[in-house]
């Protein structure tokens, strides 16, 4: 897998650099947390996550919670459960569970959409394509009512390399609930710029999904359309994202929060007849309170 080779090569290139130790006090830092204490917060504002699925509505964002607890080795961070196997000044290796973000496009109450309230139309994120197509003359290209695309947990390992040029995060995780039996891998570089009361984080992400993942979420089942089931053949795909997170410290507890994300959806996914866009965007502007 050339992508994994590139991932390993990237890690080896960055492994010689240095990174400062965690500070003694976390205050408003986002890269530091007090051991043995729940970190709770809530962000109230407005934003939107675009849905690349045809006939599915975008997902409005109003309320986003943050919940985390870090022990000596175990940690829980916004739905991710992890165990730190090894940590040094320049690196961290964790065992992790995480969840797939693909099911979020199909299910309103997917964890990726949790607390993201809808505006009026409760069917916004789950409107089946059949609802708009069933009135058309039956055609072999018509896609019927979609079967379930279920949420699943992934389990695997991740590594962080801390360098003076930013932080490299690589992960590899497999479906542990046997929903699709696929594999996902991520390579992320992010860089923090603290500037007085501001903190800016820029990130670039490569998100690889195996053929099983792509087929489960974006493939067409025979019951949905025999034609598309034959025509569209899922393959592994690589999504590419750019992210920006800006925070402005108002008080000890209140921050202003600005989040933007653009994802270029991999060709193998974008070619699915379920999609009518080859990208997805997210933005969120809010006031965030940390308890």
């Amino acid at each position: 897998m050339p992508y994994l080779l590139a991932l390993l090569l990237s890690l080896s290139l960055f492994s010689g650099a240095t990174f400062a130790d965690a500070p003694a006090s976390c205050d408003n830092n986002t890269d530091c947390i007090e051991v043995g204490r729940w970190d709770l917060g809530i962000a109230l504002g407005y934003g939107q996550k675009s849905n690349p699925l045809k006939d599915f509505e975008d997902i409005p964002l109003y309320v986003v919670p943050t919940i985390a607890y870090y022990g000596e080795s175990w940690f829980f961070d916004n739905g991710n459960l992890g165990y730190t196997l090894a940590e040094g000044e320049n690196y961290t290796v964790n065992l992790i569970t995480t969840f797939s973000n693909d099911s979020a496009f199909f299910h309103r109450w997917d964890p990726s959409n949790i607390f993201l309230l809808n505006t009026g139309n409760s069917q916004a994120a789950i409107a089946p394509m059949a609802s708009s197509l069933s009135r058309l003359t039956p055609d072999e290209r018509t896609i019927g009512e979609l079967e379930n695309r279920n949420f699943t947990y992934l389990g695997g390992a991740e590594a962080f390399i801390y360098t003076r040029f930013g932080i490299v995060h690589a992960s590899l995780a497999h479906d542990i609930l046997d929903v699709h039996g696929g594999l996902e891998s991520k390579l992320k570089w992010f860089y923090n710029i603290p500037l007085d009361k501001w903190n800016f984080e820029f990130a670039a992400v490569l998100d690889w999904k195996s053929e099983e993942v792509v087929d489960y979420y974006y493939g067409i089942r025979p019951s949905e359309s025999l034609y598309w089931n034959q025509v569209y053949q899922a393959e592994s795909a690589l999504n590419k994202s750019l992210e920006f997170t800006g925070q402005y410290v108002l008080t000890e507890n209140w921050n202003l929060l600005f989040v933007a994300r653009y994802t270029d959806i991999g060709d193998a996914i974008a070619e699915s007849p379920l999609l009518d866009k080859d990208y997805t965007t997210t933005y969120f502007v809010s006031a965030a309170y940390r308890f």
Binding site: T30, V35, G41, A68, F75, G82, F160, T282
Partner: protein
């Protein structure tokens, strides 16, 4: 006889409590401490210290065997018991001021506001 001599050489001079832990917020330690000594010395006692409000205190008779002091300090305080008449140093005790341990922190691996 030998035991009495030993007791006279090492009088029992006690401080209670011996340690004060400052809170994370308050930098100073506010506490009431009691100094006690036994009667075997049969001497009138003075207490001297490096605490600003108790440079020197002297008992009025050999029958006084304790002293209670309100302390507000951010560093250790040394109390020394001396003979009021001869100024001979008899014993010493120390009040330890210990700052509360800062909370243990570790790296957080996810941005708290990373949406997904």
């Amino acid at each position: 006889m030998a035991q009495n001599t030993l007791e006279e050489l090492e009088p029992n001079f006690k401080l209670s409590p011996e340690i004060c832990i400052t809170s994370a917020d308050a930098k100073a330690c506010d506490i009431e401490v009691t100094l006690q000594w036994d009667s075997v010395t049969n001497k009138t006692i003075c207490i001297i210290s490096d605490y600003k409000d108790l440079k020197k205190w002297c008992g009025s008779s050999p029958d006084i065997h304790s002293l209670t002091v309100n302390i507000s300090a951010n560093r250790d305080i040394q109390f020394v018991m001396i003979d009021k008449d001869t100024h001979e140093t008899i014993a010493g005790v120390k009040l330890k001021i210990t700052p509360a341990s800062p909370p243990q922190v570790r790296r957080r691996y996810r941005n708290p506001w990373s949406l997904f």
